[in-house]
């Protein structure tokens, strides 16, 4: 295969992974915008998405659209429970403590998954078969096309939601200034609940489209969560277009370096990129520097 074709191949697989990183990153941004905390359980939402889908579709043999819908609902419910339970009940509202609570939640979810589904990796069949489609000389898996399509739909949908609906605008208001939102009568608590529920749903979607490509297992959540978080920081923490740009950038860079340089250090690269961005431009690719207090 010529270099051009190889690079194209890596580019495509990078964009595919990148799309899922973008979705995960958006999940992080949603919760951070509403509450200021980093939800370390986000990666587990993704893992659960895969697991639930496998349960509904492969084990219970429900039709794919039904399984899809139920999975999104289930993981959204997990997000809801996380907020209503541990987060809401916490005696301390300090951000550091709440973040560590999400870490505890992520470990618990991982432990529970280990009991429910065992330790072995599992997979889903691709949505529409695995016969590659040839485009511009490179082979694309149909699953990749599904990934792009679904990501685009989700991003466009979320964009419309946040700009065009009342609830979406209310959530943006909370992100901008919690106090002002409270003063204008916005039910901030409910917006926070929504952000967790949405993040759960987003995680589910990411997990479902990812599992046919990379398989999943009870401990897949940690790495995915971290990469999604890196994507969010990379693009500009808290911004949705930022998470998308960051995710795609990360996915492509990861894929290119794995293919062209070395695949063993692929994961290390993702974090190396993260560290570099943190050191030189902490506000991210799209981020604007904030008013710097001396």
């Amino acid at each position: 295969m010529t270099l051009y074709l190889q690079v194209l191949q890596f580019l495509l697989s990078g964009l595919t992974m990148g799309s899922t990183y973008a979705l995960i990153g958006i999940g992080f941004s949603l919760i951070h915008n509403a509450t200021g905390i980093v939800n370390f359980a986000q990666g587990e939402f993704v893992m659960l998405g895969g697991m639930f889908m496998i349960t509904f579709f492969s084990f219970l043999r429900l039709p794919m659209p039904v399984a899809f819908f139920l999975t999104v609902l289930s993981v959204a419910a997990v997000g809801l429970l996380l907020e209503q339970g541990p987060i809401r009940r916490a005696r301390s509202k300090e951000i550091l403590i709440l973040v560590m609570i999400t870490v505890g939640a992520s470990i618990s979810i991982k432990g529970l998954s280990m009991l429910l589904w065992g330790k072995n990796p599992m997979t889903l069949p691709p949505f529409s078969g695995d016969a590659p489609i040839v485009l511009l000389g490179a082979a694309i898996m149909p699953q990749s096309l599904w990934t792009f399509a679904i990501t685009v739909i989700v991003v466009v949908g979320l964009n419309y939601f946040f700009k065009g609906t009342l609830i979406g605008k209310a959530m943006r208001a909370v992100a901008a200034s919690r106090r002002s939102a409270l003063l204008t009568g916005i039910p901030v608590d409910r917006m926070i609940l929504l952000s967790f529920t949405f993040s759960g749903a987003l995680g589910a979607v990411a997990g479902m489209i990812l599992t046919p490509i990379t398989t999943t297992s009870y401990d897949a959540g940690v790495m995915l969560g971290l990469k999604g978080f890196s994507a969010a920081i990379l693009g500009g923490y808290g911004s949705m277009p930022g998470a998308v740009v960051g995710g795609l950038f990360l996915g492509v860079l990861e894929s290119l370096s794995a293919g062209l340089i070395s695949s063993e250090y692929k994961d290390a690269l993702a974090f190396f990129i993260l560290l570099t961005v943190l050191f030189f431009k902490p506000s991210g690719i799209l981020g604007r520097g904030r008013l710097r207090r001396v």
């Binding site: 008013l291 710097r292 207090r293 001396v294």
Partner: protein
């Protein structure tokens, strides 16, 4: 005529599109009580924050005893000899009254990590000195009986005095007080006023940012008036009370 202890030259500070300070210039003579007044939103606290290094100026310069302050960090400015109190008392609420004052002495002391970890004799001696000086300061403020209380357990008036004590512990040449009598009753207000006058008698230069006209006009040697981020007038208190621009600024706001 003595050289000014603080000089602000044409300072401007913007927040986004809003101009919080616009070309403000003034100087402060040593060993005076200077009041800075103005209606709400005039930029008084912003000015204070700019001088103490909390905000960076967009243009202009501030000189303290001839030294330019731009680019310096808050802790460095404190080290030079400027200190302040806050509108909302910013104590270390979970530390004791005595400890709060001892922290205030930080810029005038020097034992570091090594001395602390190894409990070296130099460090031990300095600690004794810090404790003694802090206790003396507490006596000056009448708080020595509550030295081991948690700072958060003091009354509002006592907390304000403690914060003032902490600021004084760093032996500043220039002291800024941000609304020192807000929330105090009449008696506490008069005590604070007396305290400030005593400070001046001890050679201190004090700048008051205040809403309470009675206090400002009562004890200030000089008054600077701000409105909408600009200086509109300055002079002796009696003159300011008669100045039409000042009256208008307050009535019109």
């Amino acid at each position: 005529m003595q050289a000014a202890i603080l000089e602000a030259q044409n300072i401007t500070l913007r927040f986004g599109g809003l101009e919080a300070l616009n070309g403000v210039s003034f100087s402060i003579a040593p060993n005076q009580i200077v009041g800075i007044i103005g209606p709400n939103g005039a930029g008084k606290t912003t000015l204070l924050n700019a001088i103490t290094g909390v905000y960076a100026l967009d243009s202009g310069e501030i000189f303290f005893q001839g030294i330019p302050l731009s680019g310096l960090k808050s802790f460095q400015i404190t080290g030079l000899g400027i200190n302040r109190t806050f509108q909302q008392v910013q104590l270390f609420s979970q530390m004791t009254v005595l400890e709060n004052v001892m922290v205030g002495m930080h810029p005038r002391t020097k034992s570091g990590f090594l001395g602390g970890i190894l409990h070296l004799p130099g460090e031990r001696k300095e600690e004794k000195g810090i404790r003694k000086q802090a206790e003396t300061l507490l006596e000056f403020f009448g708080l020595q009986a509550k030295a081991n209380w948690l700072a958060s357990h003091l009354s509002v008036g006592e907390q304000k005095r403690l914060e003032l004590g902490r600021a004084l512990a760093s032996q500043p040449s220039l002291l800024f007080l941000d609304e020192p009598v807000a929330g105090l009753n009449i008696r506490e207000m008069e005590e604070m006023g007396d305290l400030i006058i005593r400070l001046r008698e001890n050679g201190q230069t004090v700048v008051l940012v205040e809403h309470n006209m009675h206090l400002v006009m009562g004890i200030s040697d000089w008054v600077i008036v701000l409105n909408n981020g600009s200086k509109i007038s300055e002079g002796r208190p009696e003159a300011m009370q008669r100045d039409s621009r000042v009256v208008e600024a307050y009535l019109g706001s």
